[in-house]
Structures are given as structure tokens and as C-alpha cells.
């Protein structure tokens, strides 16, 4: 049976190509739409030059709406940043942070999205202070729950409590599936081997991750194995990543409105070797989730030193996987290749 969960793409996924001017906004939307991933998420200041310090040009906004219509896409989410460290040596004052969030709410409204993504380090009081304004504009502010944080972390619980106390429906969560990292990603291991980690140490860290050994023990053991520099850095990735449980999302389903379909690599057999998407989709279905899962390809930075990432092929494979898990009858495929 087909699911009510919808597929989308965060244009973050195509960053290697868009950075170099190899894919235009039109290429990104056409590619996503051909794959049946009609939901489009953007990082405003990646896709729209000038935003926020110089503002975005109206012709760029008009072009966005033209392309959204042309490819039958849906604007889903604008990921905003809130640079509270804009001033050297002092944090941006509270009122200015709230004003900055309101500015991004306005920008989200111009793009036609229903959600804007807040980074997890933002003070919950800032979001609460902007909630009524978001409500007026028909927008929800979603805090991104991203590793090393997770739904049982006190910082996330503090956000949840602040949201409940506010009584506002305009505040919620956007979980990043990278927090459910069940295995050490092969592309990470390969990168650490390339930069000089001895194979015995790399094998140990990978195995220790699978055995769920506490990061601090792994770091110490690697040092005792003679590991330095990159070897210790490899062990330290365990401080920032863990195999949290997808089912922990269930307590928060009423406030979960968008999902980052994080992945580090999609193999030819349509499997993400480190993130358990079968379990994730099962939990989302169980929780009655009806929003988008937006592909977020982040393997690019792990392989770019050795090969040019093929973001489109990676996204295609993940969309095939998602369509299968969601019970869709038609396999996503691409008709148009992007000119290199």
C-alpha cells in the first residue's frame, strides 16, 4: 500500500555541482521532479545570492516560483542560519536575534514554504518570541534535531518544554536521520584510510562502533594502539555520532513536520549501509507522519578529495530506496541528464 509520506530533496544534496556552476536551479528542480521528489527544501543563502545581509532579488524569487510551477514542485522548507556570532567578540542581542528570525519568516513566506528550519544551537526563547509572527505568516519554525543531539538530550527536551509552555503550534522539530547512524559509514572509513589512519586502527574503530563501545574508551584505546592525528580524529567521530533509536521520534510526532533524509552513500543496490531507512520509514508510518522526507546527501565532503561526487546519481538511488519503502508502484528514474 502506498503511504501518505511524501518525497522531496534538499538542494543541499547538489552542492558540489551548484557550487561549481555545473547545475542551475532549474537543473536541481527538474532532476528532483523527474525522480518524483516534488518537495523542495533550500538553504536560503545557498540558493539565493545576497540573502540575508544584502536581501534577495525579486527577480530571483520570481524565477523560483516560475520553476516551481514549471516542474510541478512544492516549496517545503527554507533552512535559515541566524548568525548570532555576526559580531566579533559579542553575541547578537536577543531582540536582534528575534528580528533576524522574523526576517527569515518573511523570506520563507516569499518562497511559499510552510516550514523554516532553525539550527539546533539557537536559544529556544528566541524561537518562542518569534512564534506568533510565524503563525500570522502561516509558517512553522522547526528546530533541526541533529547528531550529536537526539530526542532524549536535555537540550532538546528543554526546547520541547519551551514549545509546550508557549502553547504555539508554530514551533516544532525537523529530525535529521543522521542521528540514527547504525554503522560506521564506509565512506568515512575510506577517507580516514586515505589520510593515513593505519588499517588495524580503522578496522578497530569500525568494529567498536558496531559494538556500541563508549566513545571515550575508543579514543583512549586508539591512542594506546599508537594512533595520533587522523587516527584520533577518526575515533573522535564517535563523540558526535551514535545509533540512537528511530522509535524515539514517536513521542514527538505531533510536532515533527519535515524530515532530513540524511545519507552518506547510496550503494548500487539502493542501500544506505549506515542508516537503517527500513526501520525509519516503519516508525514514521507508525507515527502517522504525513510530511516530506527530503534527501540530504552529505557524502560529498567525505569523497571529494578522491573523486568528483555524483550527487544526482546518489539522490536518484536514495529516491528509489524511499519509493520502494513507501510502497510506491513506479520506480523513480531520470529522463534528462544534466550537462556537465
Amino acid at each position: 500500500m502506498s503511504s501518505t509520506i511524501k518525497r522531496g530533496v534538499s538542494l543541499y544534496s547538489y552542492q558540489n555541482e551548484t557550487f561549481q556552476g555545473k547545475m542551475s536551479l532549474e537543473d536541481c528542480l527538474r532532476t528532483s521532479a523527474e525522480l518524483g521528489a516534488h518537495g523542495i527544501e533550500v538553504i536560503g543563502e545557498q540558493t539565493f545570492w545576497g540573502w540575508p545581509e544584502c536581501g534577495a532579488m525579486q527577480e530571483d524569487i520570481d524565477n523560483w516560483h516560475r520553476l516551481i510551477a514549471k516542474y510541478n514542485c512544492v516549496p517545503v522548507c527554507h533552512d535559515f542560519m541566524l548568525d548570532y556570532k555576526r559580531y566579533k567578540g559579542r553575541e547578537m542581542p536577543f531582540a536582534e536575534q528575534v528580528a533576524s528570525v522574523k526576517n527569515d519568516i518573511d523570506f520563507g513566506a516569499r518562497l511559499g514554504v510552510k516550514f523554516i528550519r532553525a539550527l539546533v544551537s539557537i536559544d529556544p526563547a528566541v524561537l518562542v518570541a518569534a512564534a506568533d509572527y510565524a503563525q500570522e505568516k502561516g509558517i512553522k519554525i522547526l528546530i533541526e534535531v541533529h547528531a550529536p543531539l537526539h530526542f532524549d538530550h536535555p537540550w532538546i527536551i528543554r526546547h520541547a518544554e519551551a514549545f509546550e509552555k508557549s502553547g504555539s503550534d508554530a514551533l516544532g522539530f525537523l529530525p535529521d536521520m543522521g542521528m540514527f547512524l547504525f554503522k560506521f559509514p564506509p565512506v568515512w572509513k575510506e577517507k580516514f584510510l586515505r589520510i593515513g589512519v593505519p588499517k588495524a586502527i580503522a578496522d578497530y574503530v569500525e568494529k567498536a562502533y558496531e559494538d556500541r563501545v563508549l566513545s571515550e574508551y575508543v579514543i583512549l584505546n586508539v591512542q594506546e594502539m599508537g594512533g595520533t592525528g587522523p587516527a584520533v580524529a577518526m575515533a573522535e567521530t564517535l563523540r558526535h555520532n551514535a545509533a540512537f533509536e528511530p522509535k524515539r521520534m514517536l513521542d514527538y510526532m505531533p510536532r515533527i513536520h519535515n524530515i532530513h533524509g540524511k545519507f552518506y552513500q547510496m550503494d548500487e543496490d539502493y542501500v544506505e549501509p549506515s542508516i537503517p531507512y527500513d526501520q525509519i520509514v516503519k516508525v514514521l508510518k507508525q507515527g502517522g507522519y504525513q510530511g516530506y522526507i527530503c534527501s540530504e546527501y552529505e557524502g560529498n565532503r567525505w569523497i571529494e578529495d578522491a573523486q568528483e561526487p555524483d550527487s544526482v546519481e546518489q539522490v536518484r538511488r536514495q529516491q528509489v530506496m524511499l519509493a520502494r519503502l513507501l510502497g510506491e508502484s513506479v520506480e523513480p528514474s531520470l529522463n534528462t541528464t544534466v550537462a556537465a
Binding site: 543541499y12 552542492q15 558540489n16 551548484t18 557550487f19 561549481q20 556552476g21 538553504i43 543563502e45 545557498q46 540558493t47 545570492w49 545576497g50 545581509e53 544584502c54 542560519m81 541566524l82 548568525d83 548570532y84 556570532k85 555576526r86 559580531y87 566579533k88 539550527l119 539546533v120 544551537s121 560529498n300 565532503r301 571529494e304 578529495d305
Partner: protein
């Protein structure tokens, strides 16, 4: 990220009192100029003093000290800025250019520096 794409190939050229090349911010978004903590350039192993570096984007030129309080301009995603080094000039031929950027990113619990080195040719 984007480390090996920071320096734009074939972009080395002469400037009055020095040379320049095109550089991109190694990041998945742009950044307001006040958050560029430092730009470090060396040529053939010799460091260029911070005060001899200029950052030029869309016909605006800044010293690195000036950039620290620029709140109305950005280094956009993938945008090629002209990085000028006032070192007195470079002879024709190949030169090893190293370009590093240190940026203050609000959500990171550290201040990352990202570096690229490329061989660029100065035309005769």
C-alpha cells in the same frame, strides 16, 4: 568541504603592486564578511602579511581588518572573490599558491580553517 575547489584554476594575474587569484569560500552557504576571521595567503612557501591582502567582490575592495565590521556584504555560495596580495609582484612562470580561510560559524563549537594549495601559472 570544497577544500580543493577554493582556488580557481588558471586565475593568477598581475595587479598593481602584486598579484591576484580567484578564491571561493569553502562552505555550503555564503557568509557575511564580518564572519571571515582571516584569509591567509602564501606564495612559493612565503607568507603574505595580513595587511598586504585585499578581498574584492563585486567591485568592492576591503582590507581584512575592514571586513571584520562589514555587515552589509557577503561572500556568496560558490562566488569567486578576487584575492589580492600586495607583495611587489610575481615573475612569470609557475607558483605554488596556498590560500586558507578561517571563519566564525555560529553553530560550530570551533573556528574552522580550510586550506587549498595549487600550482598556478603567471603569464609572461
Amino acid at each position: 568541504m570544497m577544500d580543493n575547489k577554493m582556488i580557481v584554476e588558471g586565475s593568477l594575474q598581475r595587479e598593481e603592486g602584486g598579484f591576484s587569484f580567484l578564491g571561493r569560500l569553502p562552505y555550503y552557504r555564503g557568509l557575511g564578511l564580518s564572519m571571515i576571521e582571516d584569509i591567509i595567503v602564501s606564495v612559493d612557501g612565503a607568507a603574505i602579511p595580513r595587511e598586504a591582502i585585499r578581498f574584492c567582490v563585486r567591485d568592492q575592495t576591503y582590507t581584512l581588518d575592514e571586513m571584520e565590521t562589514v555587515y552589509d556584504n557577503r561572500w556568496n555560495f560558490g562566488e569567486k572573490a578576487r584575492i589580492v596580495a600586495l607583495n611587489g609582484g610575481l615573475p612569470a612562470g609557475n607558483h605554488a599558491i596556498t590560500f586558507a580561510v578561517r571563519m566564525r560559524v555560529s553553530y560550530l563549537p570551533f573556528v574552522p580553517t580550510t586550506k587549498d594549495t595549487k600550482q598556478l601559472a603567471m603569464a609572461a
